[in-house]
Amino acid sequence: MMKILKRMHWYLKLLFLFMKLSLQSQLEYRLNFLAGASVEIACLFIKLVYLILVSRTGESIGFLTPDMIMIFIGTYIFMTGMWMLFRGINSIPSIVLRGELDVLMTKPGSLQFLQTFGSFDLAKTFPNVIAGIVLIIIGWSNTTIAASFANITGFLFFIVCGIILTYSFSLIAALLVFWITSRNAVLTLYAALWDFNNMPMAIYPKTMQLIGTFIIPIFVIFNWSGLFILGQLDMFRIIYGAVIPIIVFVLSRMMWKRGIMRYYSANG
């Protein structure tokens, strides 16, 4: 037990160190850092225009009032920030193609950890994460949903599940580089699937909802936390939402192991 705790402490220490070094590294280019953050804020602004439009019309989507929709959009923006945070994942294709995994492979510890948490894009992450949290808080406080312990715990639990799914799906998309050298098409498809979620899944037809929940469970990332506090998740869906991140994570881990076996490295 002590050994496991010591190991976890070691990984946690490295995680914070990687974050610190990433931030230091990005701050070296002040203009780039500010430009990156500004572009993200501009993109956020465009997303928020949708939200204002929805709020102004006062129209509900099914059972969702504009304030409830704000919670879903806030979750989407927050998760987009998390997606951007994992620069280590997004850089896998170029790193693999240039054979730059070599040095990391000789370091102690999990190679997957060292690569996927080895660098973070904080300039793009901060605006999204902060804006997402603010929207969730505003939306929630304008509704009659009780801020009870059970609701907050359930909401945070599915947010964590969403982060695990974001990590795993992004990793799977990045790992395709081991099989498909040019994976632009896959990335475009992944980005398009991601953008499907800038509105609650309730606006889509039933068939699409089923596909996005059970075939490619991308809707789980953004909708489950909101649906939980709205009392719209039955026991089956609660269990499904808790189990699917584990399944997808295990799948991504298996893909990682297979992919690394195919790593050819490169000289020069």
């Binding site: 220490k13 160190l17 492979m105």
Partner: protein, 330 residues
């Protein structure tokens, strides 16, 4: 005591052939002709603890691929190897803490940050106690004369300075095995000498086992008593350097520039002409007589500029082939 044992190690890479132009691309879309490149072909050797072994060979010979298999980066297609009792490609943490892989072409330094940040990261990764870390860092930075540079962003350093920082980052955890992959590539002669001198002193003091790959004969001569010459994935020679040194030093290459046309037949008296044009010539001189012949050439011909160089490693290997006549481990 043998620390590295390699038996019949092979590594193949798959690739596809593509004919020139759009026709070839369209053809490839439907049917691809799979080819296999045998990067390393069943090599075997043993290395004793504390030895410095030179891996010599031209580009694409299989040196780096072998080193990558021994450091666990690549899985072999077949064969076996153990390093300090570990199978490298199992990538056990205990093994990874024992060795360091230093490449002249791949960096572990954070380019936009001072090297000290990478050193600190390595301290945390290898869990080096504070006192020990400070002592080693101080010692290595002093030996390599870069104490004043460790707080400067890596991107602002010269190639030689970057390599010195790479070496420090790799040695902080006191590895007992060092894989050095072309550590002097691209460096100027002075930097090359400094790196070589550091490695030599460090190996002597710490008694580490080193495999050094290089296609610079000078690297090998300065550091290694034993050498494994590898060409096209196979071991051409495995033994003492002194026994084959002459193969690489039988000739000297002289590049000449003349102020006017000369009689090349006259020049042939001193060696064999490799290349000639209107005012230029490249001549191969015998190492035994090259001092006298150089003087004669410079006095008898209207030479306005000249350079001397060693023959390429490829030529030395060719001579080895001729000598061994198909008997690699002579």
């Amino acid at each position: 005591m043998k620390i590295i044992q390699v038996n019949d190690l092979t590594r193949d890479f798959e690739y596809y052939k593509k004919a020139q132009g759009i026709k070839g691309s369209i053809k490839n879309l439907f049917k691809r002709e799979k080819k296999i490149k045998h990067a390393v072909k069943g090599i075997s050797f043993e290395i004793k603890e504390g030895e410095i072994i030179g891996f010599l060979g031209p580009n694409g010979a299989g040196k780096t691929t072998t080193l990558k298999m021994l450091s666990g980066i690549l899985h072999p297609t077949s064969g076996s190897a153990t390093v300090a009792g570990y199978i490298p490609w199992e990538r056990k943490d205990e093994y990874k803490r024992m060795f360091a892989f230093v490449s002249g072409q791949k960096t572990q330094l954070w380019n936009d940050l001072p090297a000290i940040d990478t050193f600190y990261l390595n301290k945390c990764i290898y869990e080096i106690p504070d006192d020990e870390y400070n002592d080693i860092l101080n010692e290595l930075a002093t030996l390599l004369d870069v104490k004043h540079l460790i707080n400067i962003q890596v991107r602002r350093l010269s190639l030689g300075e970057k390599m010195k920082m790479q070496i420090i980052a790799s040695l902080l955890h006191k590895p007992s095995i060092l894989f050095l992959d072309e550590p002097t590539i691209g460096l100027d002669i002075i930097s090359q000498q400094k790196i070589r001198s550091f490695i030599k002193n460090y190996a002597k003091k710490q008694k580490v086992t080193i495999i050094l790959t290089s296609h610079y004969m000078k690297d090998i001569e300065d550091l290694c008593k034993k050498v494994i010459v590898i060409n096209e994935g196979s071991v051409v020679y495995n033994g003492h350097l002194k026994d084959i040194q002459s193969m690489f030093h039988m000739k000297k290459i002289m590049n000449l520039v003349f102020s006017e046309n000369i009689d090349f037949e006259q020049l042939k008296k001193y060696g064999s002409i490799i290349e000639q044009s209107e005012f230029k010539a490249t001549i191969e001189l015998d190492v035994k007589t090259y001092a006298q012949n150089t003087t004669k050439i410079l006095t008898e011909f209207p030479v306005i500029d000249f350079t001397m160089e060693e023959p390429s490693v490829e030529k030395g290997i060719l001579k080895l082939f001729e000598r061994n006549a198909g008997n690699p481990n002579e």
